[in-house]
Symmetry: C3
Subunit: 361 residues, 3 copies
């Protein structure tokens, strides 16, 4: 009989007591980006999502953005379809109005003494072109810091903002980026680059993997050349000089490429924000910073190539993680057979920092 142990008879996932990693919900007690600043004009409101919760972001003509539950207390239609007046938003349907605190401050056809309950408000911050909310326990928002967005504010770097909706659990995104053996998949874009794993590090809520790469075939693509600022020699003395460090610092992720003692040539900050209640889709917010080379204007001129290059890479990654999610859906659970220790540790970290499904308060 020519059958080998199939996935159908595979043992359950190795997470131990944590259960199926794809059923672990993101921990809401962090600041999550939910929109780019440029998406929300003064005097306007837009609707966004975190883990199935609809959130209205409101930017008054004067003053900071604020965030309310995106369901009118009256009939649950989106407040983000409404009108911004001063420091309040008025529901488009019957005109109920809410202030920054979520309190209902006017029902046009009702006495002021009878005003009904309002809606939930979310702590909200804006920084470096991103709007963040704190979907968890609002009392903790003051003590949990906003993430540091790498080189975004550093004039020595040029930053690309990118992102898409991806139809998978956020954990697939973390694993994809940290396991550089998936370089195999990008061979057409990158040529044959053999990763060498240098080691890992971990701390509370953090894990980091380090790699070098040697080109074993193919030409260096122009997009990659731009990242490194120069066309590298393929000879042995240059191989393994640049170190790539990928770090999950829950719930964010970063990837840096740098030579010892030098500033990173590339510095990526990225977050995967669950969209639906089951957290099987996510919206990506990525900030890709490239160190400006010495020749002024060179990076700007070459920017369209870099954009196209990174888009192609990102499309391949998106396709594969969505296929992983589709397999999970079909099999009704996680059948991964993970053999790479740093990814095993990453999975344990994500399970430990998240919330098991059904355990939400």
């Amino acid at each position: 009989m020519n059958q080998i142990l199939s996935t159908d008879s595979m043992p359950p996932p190795r997470l131990g007591p944590e259960g199926d990693l794809r059923r672990i919900r993101s921990n809401p007690d962090f600041w999550y980006p939910v929109a780019w600043s440029r998406e929300l004009k003064p005097g306007k409101t837009i609707g966004v999502r975190y883990a199935g919760q609809p959130i209205a972001l409101i930017r008054p003509k004067e003053g900071d953005v604020f965030a309310l539950e995106d369901r009118c207390a009256h009939r649950q239609v989106p407040l983000s379809k409404g009108q911004v007046t001063g420091q309040s938003v008025q529901c488009c349907y019957h005109g109920w109005a809410y202030g920054r605190s979520g309190r209902c401050i006017d029902v046009p056809y009702l006495g002021k003494g009878k005003l009904p309950n309002g809606v939930r408000t979310y702590p909200c911050r804006e920084q470096d072109g991103l709007i963040f909310v704190f979907p968890g326990d609002a009392a903790k928002a003051e003590t949990v810091p906003l993430p540091h967005l790498s080189q975004v504010a550093n004039p020595a770097y040029k930053t690309r903002r990118f992102g898409r909706h991806v139809k998978c659990h956020y954990s697939f995104m973390h694993e994809n980026l940290m396991d550089m053996n998936h370089q195999f998949m990008h061979m057409k874009q990158m040529g044959q680059m053999k990763p060498r794993f240098l080691g890992q590090d971990s701390g509370p809520g953090m894990i980091e993997a380090r790699y070098t790469f040697a080109r074993t075939g193919g030409k260096q693509p122009i997009g990659e050349a731009l990242v490194f600022g120069q066309k590298r020699d393929n000879s042995a003395k240059y191989a393994h000089r640049d170190v790539m460090t990928i770090r999950t610092e829950y719930p964010y992720q970063t990837l840096k490429i740098q030579s010892e003692g030098e500033d990173p040539v590339m510095d990526l900050w990225i977050a995967y924000v669950p969209q639906d209640a089951e957290e099987l889709t996510n919206r990506v917010f990525g900030l890709l910073s490239i160190k400006r080379p010495k020749i002024p204007g060179l990076l700007d001129a070459a920017w369209p190539f870099l954009v196209a290059f990174t888009e192609r890479i990102f499309r391949e990654d998106r396709e594969i993680v969505e296929l992983e999610q589709a397999a999970w859906n079909e099999l009704g659970g996680d059948h991964n057979q993970e053999v790479f220790p740093v990814i095993q540790n990453l999975r344990a970290l994500l399970a430990r920092c998240g919330i098991p499904a059904g355990a939400e308060s």
Copy 2:
């Protein structure tokens, strides 16, 4: 902590023992419109729906329309794909034939003595361009009257027939029309019109709300001018002269605009017919009658403007009730916080006249 009571922790709906209004099924012991007469040519058949029941309407070349269950007794394919011959319809697949009573009158390859059971028949009537069926207990059809279709047959009025499929429970439609505070939503189309609630009336199976309107800003739109037959003065002496009366006379709804002692300038009859078995979609059949002004031909000339105007209004209404339904789906139930007494009474009426889900015989 800056959180206010959210919908997640809201109390359940206030219907009391009736439960969730959106789970109340329509009462089948009424005449429901299911098609426009013009949709069904002589010698043809079409398929329609009431609350998940597929119904074949058959119009013989001579004689009245009749209505059968739209599933052949043999293999359950739609009879409405078949051929009309005399006073019968023949299934398109193997040619089984059914008469007006639903009885199977021929199977081409079977002896007449062995004919199988037939299909259900529905009482069916046609009036003023609408085809009605009685989906409930057929024994009651004789005693339950067809609805009176307002001014449709009155030559002093011109009537527009309109309708669409709308993805919401029929109760959202009744509430939308009766709560004229939603005038706020149509501000772009109508200008600022402030409704004043004059009072309500009720009876068995009936509830009625009366309003006047004062224009508080913006210009009178041409569509509205047509309805009122003349451009009204905005001064105080004209304000609050026209009365709008909205009535749910289960399961239909009407809206009239008239001045005391005069005929209505506008008279709308409308029905919302559940399509799927869970009754979370409906098909609208609306008859909008406008009184002809004294100048002959004026209304006909202006008709395209009125059509466009009412289409825009209806589109806004459709979008908002579909958003209400979407919120109900996401929340898994009704979280409405209704504060307007006439709407509270309307909800109680709809619950009382309908059938709780699961209670069907």
Copy 3:
């Protein structure tokens, strides 16, 4: 009261202990076609399905096609997205490689001593332009013969290969073809052809029905004339001369038209391969062989007409069986009222040869 027994109150299906025919799963201990040979080029791989099982077909540049479970053992993404190298396929994501036996033979970043389990392999054969797999107990594959594909290899015939995905349980396909009373449905294409049932035969795993046809109206269509090789006279002496024999030889079906003592003028072999796990969709693989007339080149010249004719017939059949499936979905089960004995026997055969849902090992 003008109501007749409706399908809602119909008795359950007549299959007796077998239960609902549409819940009977196909028996996997047979050879099923899963792709046309021309779909799979040398050095390539494609993904196909049998009853919810994803299967990668791999054709090395040299050697026979082989078939593996289409999920990498690592992260369950499709191997059919990978690369064929020699006699193995390498997963596109992290480069895990599998040989013909399904064994994992390389993980580029892991020592050879630590190789993980591989994936399931399926017995696989290729014959006359079709690729078959044996999805059941592989130990039985040697003793279960491949089906005989009628006249495909016979130079006296020209064969059309056709097929589509059809959204219904495979049993509807068998019943459709065997019940020639459905000729009624093809009246527009074929003219009025009255079938006469001659008799049936059965054996283990087999049932056969025989018919003749008399033209009772309309002209013989050109497509049909081609099948019969000549334009037949409509007079009585020709009527009922050709015999049509339809046979289900589980799980395949054939249809032959021939006169006594002559070779068939038409010989169809057809299989319906379940695609999804619930087997409510199938992919058709049909081989339609037409005997070449004596005039050389005539059939080739007329071929486009025959293709168009059979496409129209097949489209009508597809539409009706999909409507049958839709009715079954809505009613939540089989309400067929089958009156034709040979079809009753066919249903019993399909139930007996298949596997009741839930009974899979």
